[in-house]
Assembly symmetry: C2
């Protein structure tokens, strides 16, 4: 029993370290492209393609007015573009630019490559188990948000 408790606390500690490391990486990324952390969160939302301005407001927990000036900042930096949403002409579709990817990718690619290397070193069975571990942990944290 004692060991389980220790292992659990070790998990907590490791998660915190991971959080801190990712946080510092994001901080470095924000400095690199010259934006604040809120803006970077918005940029992260664009990872998989265009998104509506309203969606950003909801995702970041800001008012639409805030998002407007946020988008002004990002657009001035050439990191995003605003365009019409074909499916709703009231809406604004925010798209990432090549510049965004070319500036941010190098910072994150290293990590991704190293994690792929890590996975390679694990072998099939351990890969599955490693992934399961992480997902279990994520679920614990996500469930904690509900209560």
């Amino acid at each position: 029993m004692e060991e389980s408790s220790d292992a659990g606390l070790a998990l907590v500690s490791a998660c915190r370290r991971l959080y801190s490391a990712i946080d510092r990486l994001d901080q470095a990324a924000a400095v690199k492209v010259g934006v604040n952390r809120s803006d970077l969160r918005a940029l992260n939302e664009l990872e998989h393609g265009p998104v509506r301005a309203g969606h950003l407001a909801e995702a970041l927990g800001l008012t639409t007015g805030s998002i407007s000036s946020l988008l002004d900042r990002l657009e001035n930096l050439g990191l995003v573009t605003r365009g019409p949403d074909p499916s709703d002409r009231r809406a604004v579709l925010v798209s990432p630019t090549r510049k965004l990817f070319s500036e941010l990718a190098p910072l994150y690619r290293g990590v991704a490559e190293q994690l792929i290397e890590l996975a390679k070193g694990y072998g099939p069975r351990q890969q599955k188990s490693a992934l399961k571990t992480l997902e279990d942990v994520v679920l614990v944290y996500e469930r904690a948000l509900d209560s």
Copy 2:
């Protein structure tokens, strides 16, 4: 090889989710005690006991002047106390109060307990492997900061 790459990317994704979940948890914690995220970072530095004001300035990347007003805010909320440092009478030692722990602990305790439960369900060998996985991942992220 393809699987390794997929597994690696899955790791990236899981880490991001973990980061996001912890981030939201911290956000909830900050709201709960009525401080902003910078202040919460300072509070986290106090987790293991008293700390010098100068250390906070360094850890948070702020000037000592900024730390002064930050400490004013936290002291007014009753979350920290300022006291003399026995080993250096120039220095100010910042200590967490009981109120800090009593307000913050409930939010984080749930997660800790659940992770301990998770570890229990794993069994000794899998515990070790799970922990190793997390630490490997942490190392990847931490090393990415150097480059």
